[in-house]
Amino acid sequence: MPKPADLDLDHVANLARISLTDEEKARFGAQLGDVLGYIALLNEADVEGVEPTAHAFPVVNVWAQDVPEPGLSVEDALRNAPQRRDNMFAVPKVVD
């Protein structure tokens, strides 16, 4: 298993799309180091030949009829928008 010190907060925060302050980096680094140190206990478990479990009761191939139903109205869909223009979500300019 990797070591807690392997956690590169700048890299991971970039993947997670969250800016962290220097203070957060220092604090989270120490706290997550403790958590990862504790998690290292899992190395002791003998998982040789054990299948992974993603869901306790796997449900596969759930099919549904492709029938149109009424959905949210435009007004309802846009009600929580931070910024809107006409019937659209508005964002800062993406392409020049």
Binding site: H11, R17, F28, L42, A56, F57, V59, P92
Partner: protein, 478 residues
């Protein structure tokens, strides 16, 4: 009393509102409530009852239900106790909400939680800290701390919470109420803000197992809108429980030795042992069982739950809904700044940890290994169920701790869930019921863990102990 016409729904709702106004400045269970809306629903309920005539209404007609602020009620706020969703209003009803409305229940206020249900003390709320009604200096547990405290303090008759690693059972234990997590897939998650989708379940808080069973019967069942909900019939829980009680069935109960070791508060241990003795006195067969992979449960959970949360919370990007930073200059900047401003420390820590364990080069060592350990933990339980009908343990290793005690030490906070987390990993139903108080008057909870989808048996076993005790009649002095 509603059924006999001794009280109207409007009178009941008004009493709950008055009680909430009297005590909630101290308990702080509610993020918000709509007094006029609740009274309007109560009036509609009284009209339905008048039309239906005596005996024409179900048991939840006119009953005020509090909602953890992660469950959608159309037109009501849905904040997850996060700055990210501080102004969000639900555009639609969760399936559980629609079912409760169909049963005549009143959608009462929005209950506080740890932000996005991440925590064990409700101190991670961006808005306020909820206090334990039994000792206001202490936490109510979490993450459904508001849901537990509201029922304990008489601010709601019953409430809904969600349980990903113990978030219903642990606060129920710390507040001396009944809290139940159904089997994974028993209750639809449609309209529940997702934290860790393979672990999350909605469940009830109530004063008695009978009330919990009544709410469960109303909200359970297959839902085409949640592909992980199971296609199983929902039994009439209260009838099934009554039949089992009449049959005088002698339950076989397992006591896992791994749950009674280091870290268990002696007063909690003694109360749970006394409860086990009550089961013996009822003629139950009590035997020791082993769940040998228990020590890996917290570690596996904090890999799996954070991995799923990092994926689920990617949707909060500041584009279509939720907080958007005023300083964002371009599209990428919206993501980085909105998420930095909108999420609190614990949510950020978990997103970071979850992103890390899924990232290139670390996936196999962390995530895949944790999923394999999850298999072992699940097998432990299924193995034990070859010999026993249910497993009995403490719900939480300690009674309610002081506010501020563990906020700077996430690992210490995580270890609080040591007895509840395995149940989620294995997808089992679990319930916490009151089983006593410490010498200083803090509540203690007993956890009963059932077999997959055997909620009737689980509730019957919990009810058998409950029927021999009077803990539920004690009320906090507020």
């Amino acid at each position: 009393m509603l059924g006999r016409g001794e009280v109207s729904s409007v009178e009941l709702m008004a009493a709950v509102i008055a009680r909430t106004k009297e005590v909630d400045a101290r308990v702080r269970a509610f993020n918000s409530f709509d007094e006029a809306g609740a009274l309007a629903q109560a009036r509609a309920s009284d009209e339905r009852r008048a039309k239906a005539g005596p005996g024409g209404c179900g048991p939840l007609e006119g009953i005020p239900v509090g909602f953890k602020d992660v469950i959608s009620v159309a037109g009501q706020p849905l904040t997850a106790s996060s700055r990210m969703l501080a102004n969000f209003v639900s555009p639609y009803d969760a399936t559980v909400t629609a079912k409760l409305k169909a049963a005549g229940a009143i959608c009462w206020g929005r209950l506080n939680l740890d932000e996005f249900a991440m925590g064990s003390s409700t101190e991670n709320s961006a808005f306020q800290t909820t206090c334990n009604p039994w000792d206001l200096a202490r936490v109510p547990g979490g993450s459904s701390g508001g849901s537990a405290a509201a029922v304990a303090a008489g601010e709601a008759v019953v409430s809904l919470g969600s349980d990903t690693g113990g978030s219903i059972r642990q606060p129920a234990a710390l507040c001396s109420v009944v809290g139940m997590k159904p089997s994974y897939g028993r209750v639809s998650r449609y309209g529940l803000i997702a934290f860790a989708s393979s672990l999350d379940q909605i469940g009830p808080f109530a004063r008695t197992t009978q009330d919990a069973a009544t709410v469960l019967a109303a909200i359970a069942g297959h839902d085409p809108r949640d592909s992980t909900s199971v296609r199983l019939d929902v039994p009439d829980y209260n009838r099934g429980i009554a039949e089992l009680a009449r049959s005088g069935r002698k339950w076989r109960l397992g006591i896992p030795r791994e749950y009674f070791g280091e870290g268990l508060d002696p007063e909690v241990g003694a109360a749970v042992q006394a409860a086990i003795d009550e089961y013996r006195a009822l003629g139950c067969e009590v035997r020791e069982v082993s769940l040998p992979h228990t020590k890996y449960a917290v570690g596996a959970y904090y890999i799996i739950a954070t991995a799923e949360c990092s994926s689920n919370l990617a949707r909060y990007d500041g584009v279509r809904y939720g907080h958007r930073s005023r300083d964002a200059r371009d599209a990428l900047d919206i993501y980085f700044k909105s998420r930095a401003e909108g999420f609190g420390a614990e949510v950020k820590r978990r997103i970071i940890l979850g992103t890390y364990v899924l990232s290139s080069g670390y996936y196999d060592a962390y995530y895949l290994r944790a999923q394999k350990v999850r298999t072992l933990i699940r097998r432990d339980f299924l193995e034990a169920y070859r010999d026993v009908d249910a497993i009995v343990t403490p719900t939480s290793p300690t009674p309610a701790f002081l506010r501020g005690d563990k906020t700077s030490n996430p690992l210490a906070m995580y270890l609080n869930d040591i007895y509840t987390i395995g149940v989620n990993l294995a997808g089992l139903p679990g319930i916490s019921i009151p089983c006593g108080f410490t010498r200083s008057g803090l509540p203690i909870g007993l956890q009963v863990i059932g077999q997959p989808f055997k909620e009737t048996e689980l509730l019957a076993i919990a009810g058998a102990y409950e029927g021999r005790t009077d803990w539920r009649s004690r009320r906090p002095d507020l």
